[in-house]
Symmetry: C2
Amino acid sequence: MKKQSIGIGLMGLGVVAGEVARVLISKTEVLAEQVGCPLVLRKVKVLAEDLVSPQALEMDSQLFTTDADEFFTEPGIDIVVEAIGGERPAVEYLERAISGGKYVVTSNKEVIAKHGAKLLASAQQHKVGLRYEASVGGGIPLIAPFQYNLIANRIGGIYAIINGTTNYILTRMARERVDFSAALERAQELGYAEANPENDVEGIDAAYKLAILASLAFRSQVQPQDIYHEGISRLGSRDFQYAQELGFAIKLLAIAKQDDKSIEVRVHPVFIPEDSLLAKVDGVYNAVLVEGDLVGRVLFFGEGAGAQPSSSAVIADIVSAAQDIVLGVGNRTMWRLEPDKIIKPMSEIETRYYLRLNVADRPGVLAQISKVLGDHQISISSVIQKLADSIAQTAEIVIMTHPAKEAAMQKALQEVTQLTMVKEISNFVRVEA
Amino acid sequence: MKKQSIGIGLMGLGVVAGEVARVLISKTEVLAEQVGCPLVLRKVKVLAEDLVSPQALEMDSQLFTTDADEFFTEPGIDIVVEAIGGERPAVEYLERAISGGKYVVTSNKEVIAKHGAKLLASAQQHKVGLRYEASVGGGIPLIAPFQYNLIANRIGGIYAIINGTTNYILTRMARERVDFSAALERAQELGYAEANPENDVEGIDAAYKLAILASLAFRSQVQPQDIYHEGISRLGSRDFQYAQELGFAIKLLAIAKQDDKSIEVRVHPVFIPEDSLLAKVDGVYNAVLVEGDLVGRVLFFGEGAGAQPSSSAVIADIVSAAQDIVLGVGNRTMWRLEPDKIIKPMSEIETRYYLRLNVADRPGVLAQISKVLGDHQISISSVIQKLADSIAQTAEIVIMTHPAKEAAMQKALQEVTQLTMVKEISNFVRVEA
């Protein structure tokens, strides 16, 4: 029987959900033509406090309900759109929607990062689609390219700027040479950073997104807790000064690589060459560079967050789910896992390093440091030495190393701190070429 | 009845087709898991001369046939992959394959640019899929994002570097300050430019690709002949010098914009700000910047040509077509045209301009030129004047204008050439902000 309409149940009424509702209504005709029948918003799950939000005030309050159960049982709802955010109760809602035979669309990175494998398997079993394009990179096409365009590729690496808050802060630190706290404060004033910025600035948000991308690209189950993450709060304005002198930009990168046996996943600040495309990605923009065996390097760039870009992705998922319902297609994605690979421990990764040290301004200090590094098979590629404080008789030394193992570097750093001529290891940052 | 396998008929055996065949064979297992059954290469359409190509020598010659008819009637062939290139006989082959109920995949930009609308309508009528991801930008996802990810957006503009040959030449001219012919020669030596480079350097290839993207993005029928195109051979090394002094890069851009009534489509060299992302796209790389009402600005970057990147896109299309066959889905794309819009004549477009003039080195010459421009409502934003030749007593004047209508500029340029103090209009290039 040909469907007369596709019913949408929207769970949540935050800024993204509000925009999704607005677009469903304002673009009714265009969307109906893509699907073959109208998309009708049938219910909106709200909390009592949502009812006074600007989104709520613009909508027909008859759609509102506080009862989640209706979404999983009501025959008029074909697609459940989860835009509540957070792990719970969102994950239960998605599970129940899928078990109830509903197609689901979610923008929830935390749920997909932590429970994606289980939900995708359940969707396959119940012959419904689970789509989550908006969970990473806002409106930038990222999930679909891996599921479709890059399907023939063996993905070797992903290098991603996928947290707009930290990229905004780093851009400001680089341009204005302000310190972290000043840049964070400005980001908070502009609404780019939350009052409690931990999730963003410590790399947790980026780790969720990387877990999603790496799981998809490597056909594996990469969990957020598998991912090493380190934030940007240790960076100082002098690091940006030296980075520039050395021809680098500093970015918070989410990096995933695989070889035949292992997967490497990490989120931390890196020095990247200033003439690389990722170095040019400024402000709240996101960009994801993907390396495939056939396609070579491809890069996706755009606004990684915000109500409108995210709604672009959510609506695309809704249209695609609706097309499948009209066509009688259940689950489309082959959820296939490759044989388990080990997650490489952070101690075994190999990169170049930037070190900034505060030392006594005396002859022989560099020789001592070089010896410690050399003892751990770490060789130096360049050194900058500056007089930092003529009264305290201290100098600042900046060292760039050749590639070295993280374990060796950590041991060497411990020994370097023991040197009496070394006052402090001011910072160390990994370098990606 | 569940399919035991999906049969592929490959038409053509050039470098892309050869790579497609290689991947189908070397990645059999991975691809079969994505589809649910194996993809089997059943026939390869060759010409007599193909039989000695390196691609042919690696393959089972039993697959080869010179008879095209078999591809449209043989029940064992489910998907016809057209990789012959050129307008004819490719377009007839595609028409016959579609009429014969075959799903089709093509990498042929000329055929899709000229006959895409008719072929897509025919595919819809015959309930088969027509896919052409490889026709633009090699392995960079471009067609699928418009068909799926950006579907909820009204696309306002497309700004694309979609010809690798010219981008390589321009990069070389910018970096090494060599002239066009030297850069072209080097591109030919490296195999980036053909012996007859006209299609690339005159912007014809880019116009085909822009026709495809604009038709898709604007849901219109933009034909190659609707597109104004101008090549890069007029550019001289001095233009690059001035561009750099003024803070610009020079790129061959394919530009498409729409407003409520009209569509603007053009391919020509432009000055773009050197800190823009497109300015950083160097060498044979391609990049496409898209502006949507919801998504904002998104950019897609990668290798725009080559056997491996193109095969990545062709195989993705084959897998997607095969999935649809297995799922019993016929034509998936809603081929819907918006009400006809007029193509804006080139005379009505409005941009800023860069002018380089060779003039007599005498007082009053700038005043004369400014007056002519002013008479046509063109105002000047900056001027550089240099002594070019002290013996001939000529100088070079470089003028950047504020936005002006193309018609006004063309008329002004005609009048400027009449001024006795003006020896030559050395060049004029449009500027995109």
